[in-house]
Amino acid sequence: MNHSSNEKEPETIEPLRYLSKSEVATVETELLRDYRFGQQQLIEIWGHACAIAITKAFPLSSLSKKQPTLLVVCGPEQNGSIGLVCARHLRMFEYEPTIFYPKRSPQSLHQDFTVQCEKMDIPFLSYLPTEVQLLNDAYNLVIDAILGPETDHKEVKEPYAGMLVTLKQVKIPIVSVDVPSGWDVDEPAKDGINPEVLISLTAPKKCATGFSGKHFLAGRFLPYDIQKKYELNLPEFPGTECVIEL
């Protein structure tokens, strides 16, 4: 009989599923192996949808600084590449991204994304200042594309551990791509970074259950068979949109 003020009426009969780390890996393997999606194709889809979600969370007109600057921090693996594609689309959407990409993936697939950003004249920082005030003053927000569900959260090496310490102290909003970096995919982190916005890709992860900030689902491409197989119960995207606020 207790109704908390936060409780929403369910819009669908079946609730949206939050995936575990192993389920995320299984779904992705199936997409690549059985459904023959290409990895660059998926990263493009995710990065594009991510950028659109960011424009919904922080429309150009809502930014407080004179220039629509934002900092995109990219890790070494897929999550980082998604960040690169996201930065490129944000540039197309008239934002002014700056990228910090300290450890670049050696895979040529990911290197292409770097060149694409460089050729869009997107600046790359050579190091992340530890003086947080510099970041607060220069950028409207930070996009956290450091670590994704593929990383082992227990083994966060340098320079990422240090970067996360810095990010925990910024006053400007953090937008995390897919999973807040440093969090366990299956459980929210008690002392991890605290993003204002989370953009879950494809389907939300278990650690996002009860996420108190703005939560978006981005990426509209999942074949219906996979949706049924994993009982994802994804919400209906409006019209031709590829992002929905959860």
Binding site: D34, Y35, R36, F37, G38, Q40, Q41, E44, I45, H48, A51, I52, T55, Q67, T69, M92, F93, E94, E96, T98, Q111, D112, V115, Q116, E118, K119, M120, D121, P123, F124, L125, S126, Y127, P129, Q133, L134, D137, A138, R220, F221, P223, Y224, D225, G239, T240
Partner: protein
């Protein structure tokens, strides 16, 4: 008060334009802010003073090559964005609620090259948007990319026809046809089975939406007795043939042109609304 200027001044920024430019405190702030503000003002000036450029065939091919060679885009990346633009344009011109036939069947005809690949991606997104596409893909290239795109469609329960339906069957069954047969590389004679396909398309009364170039048209001069599509979705930039387009809807799609490339070829692209991947030109 430290800001972006300070970051530039400390020499933290390295751009593709060369690190040496950014060693001076005052200069870098100005140069760096120019990187962004110049492009925006340039675009505003261009759309006010000039109209969008219509490309010749060679120019279109050069731009394509540059996108892949210098800008390092992959075909599957750009094809995904192009196909999404096509599906989005089609949804705007022929919204689900407006369709006369139920179920919302659509015929997507895919040719033997990249235009066909765009069509496959378009079909997949149309399915996700709630349409019921069927694909006719009579000549499939051996490249892995096209096989993958085909599998992606098949796995979305998109049916592949074995032969081109007659014009009257198309009119009865489908709400509209997406023509993804030939694109901007098309030259010379139309090989079968596409000759027959195009003559059927000339007889149908349901609308045809052409991807990039109405198939069979000369890429620069058009084709007075060729198909007359209702919609044209120009990708990247319109080609000269589009001057001869007389249909109701002309959309621009393929929102991925880097500002530097746009400037180099003086494309004078319009400002797409918000995050839309299509712009209605007429």
């Amino acid at each position: 008060m430290l800001g972006v200027r300070a970051l530039f001044g400390i020499g933290l920024l390295v751009t593709s334009r060369g690190g040496s430019v950014l060693t001076h405190t005052g200069a870098c702030a100005r140069i760096a802010s120019n990187i962004y503000s110049k492009d925006l003002t340039h675009r505003q000036v261009c759309t006010m003073a000039n109209t969008i450029k219509y490309l010749g065939q060679e120019e279109a091919q050069h731009i394509d090559e540059e996108l892949f060679n210098e800008y390092s885009f992959s075909v599957d990346q750009l094809m995904e964005l192009a196909g999404l633009s096509c599906a989005t344009a089609v949804s705007k011109g022929y919204p689900l609620q407006s369709l006369l036939k139920s179920p919302p069947r659509v015929l997507v005809i895919c040719g033997p090259g990249n235009n066909g690949g765009d069509g496959l991606v378009c079909a997949r997104h149309l399915k996700l948007f709630g349409y019921e596409p069927s694909v006719l893909y009579p000549k499939r290239p051996s490249k892995q990319l096209f096989q993958n795109l085909t599998t992606q469609c098949e796995k979305m329960d998109i049916s592949f026809l074995t032969e081109m339906p007659e014009a009257d069957v198309i009119d009865e069954v489908y709400n509209f046809v997406v023509d993804a047969i030939f694109g901007f590389s098309f030259k010379g004679a139309v090989r079968e089975p596409f000759g027959d396909i195009l003559s059927q398309l000339k007889k149908i009364s349901v609308p045809v939406a052409s991807v990039d170039i109405p198939s069979g048209w000369d890429v620069e001069n058009g084709c007075p007795d060729g198909i007359q599509p209702d919609m044209l979705i120009s990708l990247t930039a319109p080609k000269k043939a589009a001057h001869h387009f007389k249909g109701r809807y002309h959309f621009l799609g393929g929102r991925f042109v880097p500002p530097a490339l746009e400037q180099k070829y003086q494309l004078n692209l319009p400002q797409y609304p918000g995050t839309d991947c299509v712009y209605q030109l007429n």
